[in-house]
Each structure stands twice: as structure tokens, then as C-alpha cells.
Symmetry: C2
Subunit: 340 residues, 2 copies
DNA sequence: TCCTGGCACTCGACTGTAACGAGTGCCAGT
DNA sequence: ACTGGCACTCGTTACAGTCGAGTGCCAGGA
């Protein structure tokens, strides 16, 4: 495909203008606002080629050009440099995150910060249990046949669950159970726990066996299977910026998608230790989000990744700025977590 | 104000028709769809009176009538009976709530259920700490100078917080602290804890005094002052039903308000042990929500109220149905909580 | 070969006019 | 006190016409 430097420059100019003005951009306006050194007619020829290749399109005849998803993709991959953050933004990040007292607080502050800085919808995944280790397991008697199981992970997450015991269990036994469970599981990565839980049952003294079996079931359910992941969301009001032009007039599908934890996790949840990810338009797998783009990255203390965070906005977004902000916030959050 | 029975019947008919059709209703359509026993001309006269009194208004000269906030208020107070739920709805409620394993689960299921049944935005307040009692306090050593403080309330809520100790504390001391704290606070209502925490410090053995002081500070902060309340939200996508006619075309202010926990708490948080509350249009105190109505009620095990729940929708909503649903869900949730 | 100015063309946006009709207020009659 | 009739209002829709931004193409020039 013959895309010489000037054609790429034209594409870049189109994307930048369209992102900032939100209006289809024509050849005349382009040469006025950018130093391309050629005439509108030449630009028109280039545009025709770009359109043929699928990077831009015309909403209707007699209108200017608009980038396609493919055009944004090329722009992000080859035509843009990540913008450095302004000092004001850096300061905002620090000021916002300083003083967080626990994990919940960190996550909430982060998601609000992201929404505010990018002026888009922000999503933060809580540190994934699958990537956490057990710090401590606590058993709190609620009644003679009920325990509250509380798990504290090294990432600061705390999960609890009520356990219905098969029969009354004296306080001393609870102490024993607590000791056994912690000896076996404390320090273990959550993904490694299932076999350990099994040996817990096998090795339990006979009188504790039934209780331990129940406990083991709940442990596996709570720690491994059930709603293992949590999500925080902020900035949905930002969806209404840009009138009804973005998202082709209906927020409905977007709002629906945002209510589905599974969807959000697939979008911003980190699987491999990747760098920043950008999903443009229908590159994501959800029909509801065809008109949206997602910028996400992993975060975690040091080099390890424990969760993902990112933002969602119209395909017509400021990618360089957004990418920079998402990365910076992830880095700060990582540092914050490393301190604990 | 001379509102005879027929005029009230006309108002009721207008509200019902407008709610179901979403279109201004005229005199002719009214007599066709309701057995009023009089002619359109008569209805027109009644309408003129109702309009003069501020219960209905005309969007423009040649359009039908639309209820005003005041009209809805009269309708809710005097013209409507709470609809009994359909058996299908009752079944839906039971099916939805059965099988919840912990408080988080109950709240999430409840808020989704409410959103689904009413087809509006649902809000559920977690059981208020102020109305809970301490069931157990757990201290988990994280390092020699750090503790994780975990509080379990009788409502099932679990709050945690990291405590930075003034100096290293041996494991035995942690055991002592745990015992002291629980002896003093377990069973106490959270609203009664501040003086108890003070005596904890006063009565602490000298060697534990500094640690206990730090702990006390965090206890007060966590349990009494800080983000004491939590909120769950669902069904924001329902705001887009009815096109852009509701909410005068812009979802923005609504979405902004929904992100403010403080706002939601004021709307659905229960203060006095009231019955169902209905706030219509600008009866609520927030400018952003002038175009919205809120139906809320308290819930809790047995007769006590531990939190609030409700829904938010356009002023043009099915009040009798919504009120019935909100009440029913609150009652079921209460029963569920009573079982724990 | 590549760029440029010129030109005809397209088509959405906007404006003005006219017909339509739902709905009203008023009044005279029962 | 209610009703039928009637003139009136005014938003909606349809249609025609103008305007102009923007395009594609072509012939001429560097």
C-alpha cells in the first residue's frame, strides 16, 4: 500500500483536527491549520487514496472526512507519540492519591482521578485474587454452628463469607481450625490453594474432619470460584460530553455494557503482563461497545501485575493524552501499593 | 379549592394515560379511554380548573395536558392505591434473593432485582454502621509495626483498616489488645462506641497504652467517621428508556448526581423509621434531579431499620407499581437479613 | 511524474410557505 | 350543569428553493 509520508501526515492531521473539533474535516481547513506545504487539491488526492485504503470516510458526499477505526489504529500505532504529562497533571495525581488509608480507598480515589483527568469513564479492577497470596485467614464464631471466614490477602483485599457448620463446634476447636488453616495456607498464592485445601481435609484430626470438610468447600468457593474479581467505576457522566454525537445518539448500549462486570473485566482485566492496550471501536468483542474505545493497562507493586485499570470513551478520543494519563496513574498506584 | 370527585377522576385519568403513553393527553382521548360519563367539552372545563390550580399544564397551546409535580403529588397522596404485586413478581423476588451467600451478595442481588422489576435506577444502602452493633473485632499482625483491624458487624458488614503502630508490638500483646478491645466493644452499638473507646485507652495497662491510643484513633476514624456508608447502584441503562423525552433531553445531571454518594444517601438513606417515601420532581433538594422522582423505604430484620433502598426514575413513572415493588423487595430483604 | 488552479457537481443544512389536524376556549342552547 | 358547535392556536409535516462546504476530475505547468 503506497502511503508515503505526506499521506500519513494528512491522516494525522485529520485525526487531530477531528478529535479536537468533532466535525468532519475538509481539505481546505486542513491546509490552513497545518503546515503541509501543498494545496487543497493535492490533499484531496491524498484523501481519496486514504479513503480507498479504508483509513477515513465521508459521512455523506459534500462533507469532510472522518477517521475510521482503522485510521485511528494506524494513528495510534505509527503516527502519535505519547504526550508527556503536564506538571499540573502530575501534581493532581500525587495530591489525589496521597492519604489513602486502605485498599478500598486507593481504588476509589484512583478511579475518580482517572475519570477526572481523562474526562472519560474510568474502570479499575481490584487486585485480582488469582494473583494474590493469603496473608491470614480468620475464623470468627458467630454462633455455635456458624463461622465468619475472613481472608486477608497480601494485596490488601479482604473477603468474607458466612460458613454454616454441620454441627456445634466448641471455641477450642475453632482455635485449632484457625491454626491449621493458617499453617497450611498463609503465604500461599491463591491460585495454588486448591490442592492445599484438599490436604487440609485429609490431614485434619478425625474430630475436626466434618467441620474442616465444610470449611474447605466454602474456602474453595469463596477464594477461587465466586466473584473473585471486583470492579470500580466512575465518570459515567462524561459519556454525555460531546452531546449525542459520540455513540451515535444512544448511550443505552454503553450503559448496559458498563453494568456487566464480566464485560469490564474482559476489557481492562489483565491477563498477560502486557503494556498499555488500546482497543478501538469494533476491535473489542462486544457489540454494545462498537462505538467506544478502551485504553487499559496493568498495575501492581513493582514489576508484578495484580490488576488492570483503564478508561472507556468515544472512538474519537485523544489517544496520546489518554494513554499517557492511564500509564501514569497505573505507575503511581503501583508505587502506592508497593509501600504496603 | 373546589375539586369535586369528577375533577379528581379526570386528574387520575390524565396521570394514568400520560404515564402509559408518554404523550400529552387531550379531552377527547380521555373520554374515549375512561368511563367518565361526560362529554369532552365538560372535561375541558374541568381541565381548565385543574390547570388553574397547578395540577396540570399544557406544553404548548395546541397540545394536550401533562401532570405537574403538584399533580403527581395529589395523585400519589389521594388518587392511587398501591398495586398488589403479581404472582410472577413475587416469584421473581424469591428466586432472585434465594441463595445469597453473604451481605455483599444480598445487596448486589437486591439492587439488580429492583432495577429489573421497576425498570428504573435502583439504589441500595448497605446496612448503616450507625445502626449496627459490633460483633467482633479482629487484629491481624501484618508486620511488627502494622496491624490489620477488621470489624465485623452484626448486620454482616465487614470493615477493615490498616493500622500503623508507633513501635513494634509482640504477638502476645496483640492477643491482649484483641481481648481487651473485644471485651469492651463486642455487642455495643456503633453509635455508642466513642466513650467506650476512650475508657479502653484509660484502662489500658501502661505498656499497651501507646499502642492502644493509636488503635483507638483508627477505631474512631474507621467505625464512626469515615465512609461509614456504602451504596450499590444498578439499572442506569434504564435512564435511556423513553428516548430523550424524560429528563428533558440530558442525562448528564442525573448521571452526575448518581455518582455522588452523599446525594444518594440523602435521597434513600433512612433517618427516621418512616414508611415509604416518595419525592416528586423538585421536591428533592438537588437541582440536578429536578426532573426525577425517588421512591424509597427502609429495610431491616424484623421491625428495626438498618438501611434504605429505593429507585429513581422520571417524574412520569408508575407510582403505584413502583411503590408496591420497592416495599415488597424491602420486606423480603428484611426477612433474609433476619435469618442471619 | 507530481502538483496546482479551476470548474462542475453533490448533497446536507437552512429557510420560507402552505396545508393539516389535534386540541383548546368560549358560547348559546337544552 | 352539561353539551354540541365553532373559531382559533400552533406544532408538525411536506415541499421547494437557496446556500455553501466539500468533492472529483481535468488540463496545464514545474
Amino acid at each position: 500500500m503506497g502511503l508515503d509520508d505526506r499521506k500519513l501526515a494528512v491522516l494525522r492531521a485529520i485525526v487531530e483536527d477531528y478529535v479536537s473539533t468533532q466535525e468532519p474535516v475538509g481539505s481546505k481547513a486542513l491546509v490552513e491549520r497545518h503546515q503541509l506545504g501543498v494545496s487543497p487539491a493535492t490533499v484531496r488526492n491524498d484523501m481519496a487514496v486514504l479513503e480507498e485504503e479504508g483509513y477515513i470516510r465521508q459521512p455523506h458526499t459534500s462533507a469532510g472526512r472522518v477517521p475510521t477505526d482503522r485510521g485511528y489504529r494506524l494513528f495510534v500505532d505509527r503516527l502519535s507519540r505519547v504526550k508527556p504529562l503536564s506538571p499540573a497533571e502530575r501534581r493532581a495525581i500525587e495530591r489525589f492519591l496521597v492519604g489513602a488509608v486502605d485498599l478500598d480507598d486507593v481504588v476509589h480515589r484512583t478511579v475518580r482521578l482517572l475519570a477526572q483527568l481523562t474526562r472519560q469513564v474510568a474502570v479499575v479492577q481490584y487486585p485480582s485474587l488469582a494473583r494474590s497470596s493469603v496473608r491470614h485467614l480468620e475464623l470468627v464464631p458467630i454462633s455455635t454452628t456458624r463461622l465468619m471466614l475472613v481472608m486477608i490477602a497480601d494485596t490488601g483485599r479482604v473477603e468474607q463469607r458466612l460458613v454454616e457448620l454441620p454441627g456445634p463446634v466448641p471455641a477450642d476447636d475453632v482455635t485449632d481450625l484457625r491454626r491449621l488453616v493458617n499453617e497450611k495456607l498463609a503465604g500461599a498464592r491463591l491460585s495454588d490453594t486448591p490442592p492445599l485445601v484438599q490436604t487440609l481435609v485429609d490431614e485434619a484430626p478425625p474430630e475436626l474432619r466434618p467441620t474442616m470438610t465444610t470449611l474447605a468447600t466454602v474456602l474453595l468457593e469463596t477464594l477461587v470460584e465466586r466473584h473473585e474479581e471486583r470492579i470500580a467505576l466512575a465518570g459515567t457522566a462524561n459519556l454525555t460530553r460531546g452531546g449525542l454525537l459520540d455513540f451515535q445518539g444512544s448511550l443505552r448500549p454503553i450503559l448496559e455494557a458498563l453494568e456487566e462486570e464480566v464485560v469490564l473485566l474482559k476489557l481492562i482485566g489483565e491477563t498477560e503482563p502486557s503494556t498499555t492496550r488500546v482497543l478501538i471501536g469494533d476491535e473489542n468483542e462486544f457489540d454494545n461497545l462498537r462505538a467506544a474505545s478502551v485504553v487499559s493497562t496493568g498495575y501492581g507493586p513493582g514489576a508484578t501485575i495484580v490488576g488492570g485499570l483503564g478508561v472507556l470513551g468515544p472512538t474519537r478520543m485523544d489517544y496520546p493524552g489518554t494513554i499517557a494519563t492511564v500509564r501514569a496513574v497505573a505507575r503511581y498506584v503501583g508505587e502506592l501499593l508497593a509501600q504496603n
